[in-house]
C-alpha cells in the first residue's frame, strides 16, 4: 500500500497503523526523510537532518512495537506515540544531537543531556525525525534571524513562515513531519502556525517543562507543539505536559487528559471578543477571515460576548523590556569559555569574551542583549523593568476580568498574513508589531492556540483562542469542534503539492 495518505492523515491513524504493525516505524521515518530530502532544500526548514540517527531510533521503536504486539496490554498506554517521528525545534537539548538554537554560537554544540520535553517524547515511543530551523535564540517573528538562513513559507516560497518556530511550522505545513515541537515566548508558536496554515498550541506557563529548553526569556518561554489538527495537539500535549522537579516554575496538576476534551459539543460556551483586537491595525483580509470564523463558532452554538483588554496596547513595549532583560542575562553563559563558539583570535580575557560573542551572535540577538542590559542598568531599572512588570500585572488583570464574562477569548493571531522575505529587515520595530495579539497572552501566562481559519489572498490566516490558566482542554474542545465543521486545516500548499510522492 502507499504510505503517502498515512503521512498526511494526522497522528491517530499513524499511531494505530504502527501499533497494528501494518507499517513499520522505519518505513514511516524513511518516507518522511525522503520528503525532507526533496523539499528541505527549498524550504530550509531544518538545521540538522541525520537519517542514520533517525533510522537507528526507528529500528529500536520497531523492536519495541514488535514485543508490545506479542505481549498484549503492555506498554500501549505508556507509548502513545510509539514509532511516530517528530521534528524538534533546535532549542530543545537532545542527547547526542547538535543543538544550535539557530545560532553560530552553538554551531558546534552537541547536547550531553535530554530536555524534559525530549524525555517525554522518548518515553512515549516517538523518534527524532530532524531538528527545526528557528530564529536565533528564538528572537524573531519571521525566521529570518537564523545563522542557518531564513525558512521559506510553504504557501509562498518568497514569504516568511513566521517565527521564531518557523521551521517547525513549515515542516508540518509541507508534510515533512506529522508533528513538531516549538516554543512560544511572544507568539513564536501561534504566529508561524497561523502563517503556515497549521494548528499550534502554547500551553499555560508552567504546564510544560522548560528544563533543557534553551532560555530566551525565562518568565515567558513555554514549550508547545504544531500538528495538523486540534485533535493531534491534544495527543501531543498529553505527552509533553506534566510536572518536572528540575524546573521550579513547572506546576504539578492532575488535569484530565486533553484527548478527552476533543469530540465534544461547544454549545453554550461564551466566547469573548476583545474589541481592541479588531481596531485599525488589523488588515481587512485577516479581519474578514477571523470574523467568518467567529460566525462559525456562533453557528456551533457558542455565545459571542464583547470584552475589553485595555492594557494590551502597552504589551509590546512591556515585552520589549522584560524579554530582553531576561535574555541579556540568560545569554551571558555563551562566553566562549566552556562550550560553543570561541574566537580564534584573542590575547586576553576581555578579547575572548568580546570577539567570541561578537562573532557568535547575530544582529537581532545583539540588539536585544543591548536593550536588556540597558533597562537593567543602575538608574534605569525602576523606570523600565519595574514599570514593565506593573504593566504586565495590569494585562493579566484585564484577562482575569474578561474571563469573568466569558469562557475563552477568540480573535486574530496577527494583524496581517505572512510578509515577503526581507521586507521588514530595515525596521525591527515594525516587525515587532506582528506579535501585538500574541504577546499579551505570554505576559499573562495564559494558554492559547492558533488554528487555520481561511485565507487572505492565498495566504493562511489563523484564529487565536485564549483561555484562563490551565484551560487548554477547553481551547482544544472549541478548536476541534471548529475543525470538524470546517476544512481550512485540511488545505495543503500548492507550491509543494506532489513533492514527496
Amino acid at each position: 500500500m502507499s504510505l503517502q495518505p498515512l503521512l498526511d492523515g494526522g497522528l491517530r491513524p499513524l499511531v494505530q497503523a504502527l501499533a497494528r504493525r501494518s507499517v513499520s516505524a522505519t518505513e514511516v521515518a524513511q518516507a518522511y526523510l525522503d520528503r525532507i530530502a526533496v523539499a528541505n532544500p527549498l524550504l530550509n526548514a531544518l538545521i540538522t537532518v541525520d537519517p542514520a540517527a533517525t533510522l537507528r531510533e526507528a529500528a529500536l521503536a520497531d523492536t519495541r512495537l514488535a514485543s508490545a504486539s506479542t505481549t498484549p496490554g503492555s506498554g500501549s498506554a505508556a507509548a502513545a506515540l510509539a514509532g511516530v517521528p517528530i521534528v524538534h525545534k533546535d532549542i530543545f537539548c537532545a542527547e547526542g544531537w547538535r543543538t544550535t538554537c539557530g545560532s553560530r554560537m552553538l554551531d558546534n554544540f552537541i547536547a550531553p543531556y535530554d530536555a524534559g520535553v525530549i524525555e517525554r517524547f522518548k518515553a512515549a515511543g516517538a523518534t527524532t525525525l530532524a531538528r527545526a530551523n528557528m530564529d536565533e535564540f528564538a528572537m524573531g517573528s519571521s525566521n529570518e534571524h537564523s545563522w542557518y538562513g531564513p525558512v521559506r513559507n510553504p504557501w509562498d516560497l518568497q514569504r516568511v513562515p513566521g517565527g521564531s518556530s518557523g521551521g517547525s511550522a513549515a515542516c508540518v505545513a509541507a508534510g515533512l513531519a506529522p508533528a513538531a515541537t516549538g516554543t512560544d515566548t511572544g507568539g513564536s508558536i501561534r504566529q508561524p502556525a497561523a502563517w503556515c496554515g497549521v494548528s499550534g498550541i502554547k500551553p499555560t506557563y508552567g504546564r510544560v517543562s522548560r528544563y533543557g529548553m534553551i532560555a530566551y526569556a525565562s518568565s515567558l518561554d513555554q514549550g508547545g507543539a504544531f500538528a495538523r489538527s486540534a485533535d493531534d495537539l491534544a495527543l501531543l500535549l498529553d505527552v509533553m505536559s506534566g510536572h518536572d522537579v528540575r524546573d521550579s516554575t513547572s506546576v504539578a496538576r492532575e488535569d484530565a487528559p486533553f484527548s478527552a476534551s476533543v469530540g465534544r459539543d461547544v454549545r453554550g460556551l461564551r466566547v469573548g471578543i476583545p474589541r481592541e483586537w479588531f481596531g485599525t491595525g488589523l488588515s481587512a483580509g485577516v479581519g474578514a477571515a477571523v470574523k467568518a470564523a467567529l460566525a462559525q463558532l456562533q453557528a456551533l452554538g457558542c455565545e459571542l460576548v464583547d470584552v475589553s483588554l485595555p492594557a494590551s496596547s502597552h504589551a509590546i513595549p512591556a515585552y520589549y523590556v522584560i524579554a530582553p532583560a531576561e535574555a541579556s542575562s540568560n545569554l551571558s553563559r555563551f562566553d566562549g569559555v566552556r562550550f560553543g563558539h570561541r574566537t580564534a583570535d584573542y590575547h586576553d580575557l576581555n578579547e575572548l569574551y568580546e570577539r567570541s560573542r561578537a562573532e557568535g551572535f547575530g544582529a537581532e540577538v545583539k540588539r536585544r542583549i543591548l536593550i536588556g542590559s540597558y533597562v537593567l542598568s543602575h538608574g534605569y531599572y525602576d523606570a523600565y523593568y519595574l514599570q514593565a512588570q506593573k504593566v504586565r500585572r495590569l494585562i493579566a488583570n484585564d484577562f482575569a476580568l474578561a474571563f469573568e464574562s466569558c469562557d475563552l477569548i477568540a480573535g486574530p493571531v496577527t494583524p496581517e498574513s505572512a510578509f515577503m522575505l526581507g521586507s521588514n529587515s530595515s525596521d525591527p520595530t515594525s516587525m515587532y508589531l506582528a506579535d501585538i495579539y500574541t504577546i499579551p497572552v505570554n505576559l499573562a501566562g495564559l494558554p492559547a492556540l492558533s488554528v487555520p481559519a481561511g485565507f487572505d489572498a492565498g495566504l493562511p490566516v489563523g484564529l487565536q483562542l485564549v483561555g484562563p490558566w490551565w484551560q487548554e482542554g477547553r481551547l482544544l474542545q472549541v478548536a476541534d469542534a471548529y475543525q470538524r465543521s470546517t476544512d481550512w486545516h485540511l488545505q495543503r500548499p500548492a507550491a509543494l503539492k506532489g513533492e514527496g510522492a
Binding site: F92, C93, T99, C101, L106, F109, A111, P112, Y113, A115, R210, Y211, G212, M213, I214, A215, A217, S218, S219, V245, R246, D247, S248, T249, A325, E326, S328, S329, L331, S332, R333, F334, D335, V337, R338, F339, L349, Y353, S373, L376, S377, H378, Y381, Y385
Partner: protein, 479 residues
C-alpha cells in the same frame, strides 16, 4: 592631635553544610579532582535550571532563629550579572532586595565587657568556581567543583569600633554557626571567610568616613592584622592631607599590608533583577516552628544558665560557651563528678585543659583527656585525696599516658596525708628537733613558719594536705 574612631562592619560567607549544592544535586565535598563535582547545572550548560536545596533554606532558618532575627516569609532570589570564567552562567544567584533573614544580632565579649553587634541581614547565595592561574604555563584553569556551593552571607551593621571587637564578633559567629551545625567552620578550606569594611572618623563626628572593604580574610589573625594595617593607613593618609577613596582591598599577610584591588569607579553594575527561574522563596510559620523545635540550647541561653544556675563568672561562662563542644564537655564533667563545685570544673576546663589543648593544637572534641577522666581527677581533688599540685601532675599523666586518676594515685602513692594524728607526730618531732627556730618564731619572726612548712613537706614527701598542715603547725608553734 585628632582622636580617631574606627568603624567596622563585617560580611561573612559561611558555607552551609549541605551534602549537595544549593541549586543542583552535585556533591559539595571538598578536595575532589577539578571539575569532577560539577554537573550540567553547575557548568551552566544551555537549558539547565536551578532548583533550591531545601536543606540550605533550613540552615538559613536555623541561623535566623539563633540570632533572634526575622525569618522572612517571602524572600526573592536575584541574579547578579558579571562576566568571569569561574562564574559559569555569567550571573550569580543571590538574594538582593528581599533576603531570607532580616535583623537579629550577636552578643560578644571583649576586654571592655559585653557588646551587642546588630546584624543587617543574612542571605542565601551560590559560590563561584575557582580560577587557577599558577598550574598552567601561560594559561588559566577553571575548577567548577565549588560552583554552586551554598553560602549564607551574614552582614552586620557598622557596630564594631576596634579590631578586637571585630575578631570577637567573628569568633562568636564562627562558634554559633558550628553550634547550630549549619557550617563546619573550616577556615583553611574557605568554609568561613570574612570581608571587612573599615573607616575612620574624628572622635565625635556623627557621619561615617569613607570605607574600604578588605576581601576574603580566612583567619582571625588576618582579620585583626588587616584591620590594624588598614586603620593605620587611613589615619596616616588623612593626617598627611589625603582622602580615603572607596575601594576594595586585599590583605597581604606576607607583607602585612592591604593593597588596592579595584576602586569605586571600576565598580561593576551588576544589573540585579529577580531570577525568573526561581519563584519567591516562601517560608511558612509551621516550617519555622519545626526548625525551632529542632534547635539545640543556644549559646546565650547556656551562658546565662551557667552564670545564674551554676554561679560561674561571666568570663568563665562565655569561655565555656564559645563552642558547643566545650559546653558539652564541661557539662559532662559536671555530671560525672557529683558534688564537685562547678567553679572548680570551670577553672580546670578553662585552665589546665585549655592550656594543654593549645599546646597540642587540638580542639576540645579531640582532647586527650576525656570528660570522664577529668571528672575522676576532680572528684579526688575535691574530696582532699590529692592536693592541687598533685592534681596537676596527675592531669599531665592522664594527658600523656592515659589511664584514670584513682589508678594513678594508687600506683604512685600520691594520696595526700590528711590524717591529723600522723601529721601531728611529724610536726611535733620537727618542733622538738629545732628549738632555736621555735624560739625565733615565738619571738615574732613570722617567716620562720615557712621553714617548718618546708621541713614538713620534705618529711612527708610532699603528700601533706597543705591546709591541714598550716592549721596544725600554727597551733603547735603557738605552744
Amino acid at each position: 592631635m585628632t582622636q580617631w574612631e574606627v568603624v567596622i562592619g563585617l560580611e561573612t560567607h559561611a558555607q552551609l553544610s549541605t551534602e549537595s549544592k544549593i541549586f543542583s544535586g552535585a556533591s559539595t565535598a571538598f578536595g575532589a579532582e577539578p571539575n569532577t563535582q560539577a554537573c550540567a547545572v553547575d557548568l551552566g550548560l544551555p537549558g539547565v535550571l536551578p532548583v533550591i536545596n531545601r536543606g540550605a533554606v533550613e540552615r538559613a532558618i536555623r541561623f535566623g532563629l539563633a540570632v533572634g532575627a526575622e525569618v522572612a516569609p517571602r524572600s526573592v532570589f536575584a541574579r547578579k550579572n558579571y562576566f568571569y570564567p569561574d562564574l559559569p552562567k555569567g550571573y550569580q544567584i543571590s538574594q538582593f532586595e528581599l533576603p531570607v533573614v532580616v535583623g537579629g544580632g550577636l552578643t560578644i565579649q571583649t576586654s571592655q565587657g559585653e557588646k551587642h553587634v546588630r546584624l543587617t541581614r543574612a542571605h542565601l547565595e551560590e559560590d563561584a568556581g575557582k580560577s587557577l592561574h599558577e598550574d598552567f604555563h601561560g594559561l588559566s584553569g577553571v575548577d567548577l567543583n565549588r560552583a554552586g556551593t551554598p553560602l549564607l552571607e551574614i552582614v552586620t551593621e557598622p557596630d564594631m569600633r576596634s579590631a578586637e571587637e571585630a575578631v570577637a564578633y567573628a569568633r562568636a559567629l564562627h562558634g554559633l554557626v558550628r553550634w547550630i551545625e549549619i557550617c563546619d567552620g573550616n577556615m583553611q578550606e574557605g568554609s568561613f571567610r570574612c570581608d571587612v569594611n573599615v573607616s575612620v572618623r574624628p572622635m565625635g563626628q556623627p557621619e561615617f568616613g569613607t570605607r574600604c572593604e578588605i576581601k576574603n580574610l580566612n583567619s582571625f589573625r588576618f582579620i585583626e592584622r588587616a584591620i590594624e594595617c588598614e586603620v593605620k593607613r587611613q589615619i596616616e593618609l588623612i593626617e598627611d592631607g589625603g582622602t580615603v577613596v572607596q575601594q576594595t582591598r586585599l590583605y597581604d599577610p606576607d607583607r602585612d599590608e592591604t593593597r588596592s584591588m579595584r576602586s569605586k569607579e571600576d565598580a561593576m553594575d551588576y544589573r540585579y533583577f529577580p531570577d525568573p527561574d526561581l519563584p519567591p522563596l516562601l517560608v511558612g510559620a509551621d516550617w519555622v516552628a519545626r526548625v525551632a523545635a529542632g534547635l539545640p540550647e543556644l549559646p546565650v541561653a547556656r551562658r546565662t544558665r551557667f552564670a545564674d544556675a551554676l554561679g560561674l563568672s561571666a568570663y568563665d561562662a562565655a569561655l565555656l560557651t564559645a563552642s558547643r563542644e566545650a559546653a558539652d564537655y564541661f557539662e559532662a564533667v559536671l555530671a560525672a563528678a557529683p558534688g564537685v563545685d562547678a567553679k572548680l570544673v570551670a577553672n580546670w576546663v578553662n585552665g589546665d585543659l585549655a592550656a594543654a589543648l593549645k599546646r597540642g593544637d587540638l580542639d576540645i572534641a579531640h582532647s586527650q583527656v576525656s570528660n570522664a577522666q577529668l571528672a575522676g581527677l576532680l572528684v579526688r581533688l575535691a574530696d582532699g585525696t590529692v592536693s592541687g599540685k598533685m592534681a596537676k601532675e596527675i592531669f599531665e599523666i592522664l594527658w600523656s599516658e592515659g589511664g584514670d586518676a584513682d589508678a594513678i594515685i594508687d600506683a604512685r602513692g600520691m594520696r595526700q596525708i590528711s590524717d591529723s594524728g600522723e601529721l601531728q607526730a611529724v610536726l611535733q618531732q620537727l618542733i622538738d628537733e629545732n628549738p632555736a627556730q621555735v624560739a625565733e618564731y615565738r619571738g615574732g619572726k613570722e617567716k620562720v613558719f615557712g621553714f617548718f612548712v618546708g621541713k614538713a613537706m620534705k618529711a612527708t614527701a610532699g603528700k601533706a594536705n597543705p591546709a591541714q598542715l598550716n592549721e596544725l603547725l600554727r597551733a603547735l608553734l603557738a605552744g
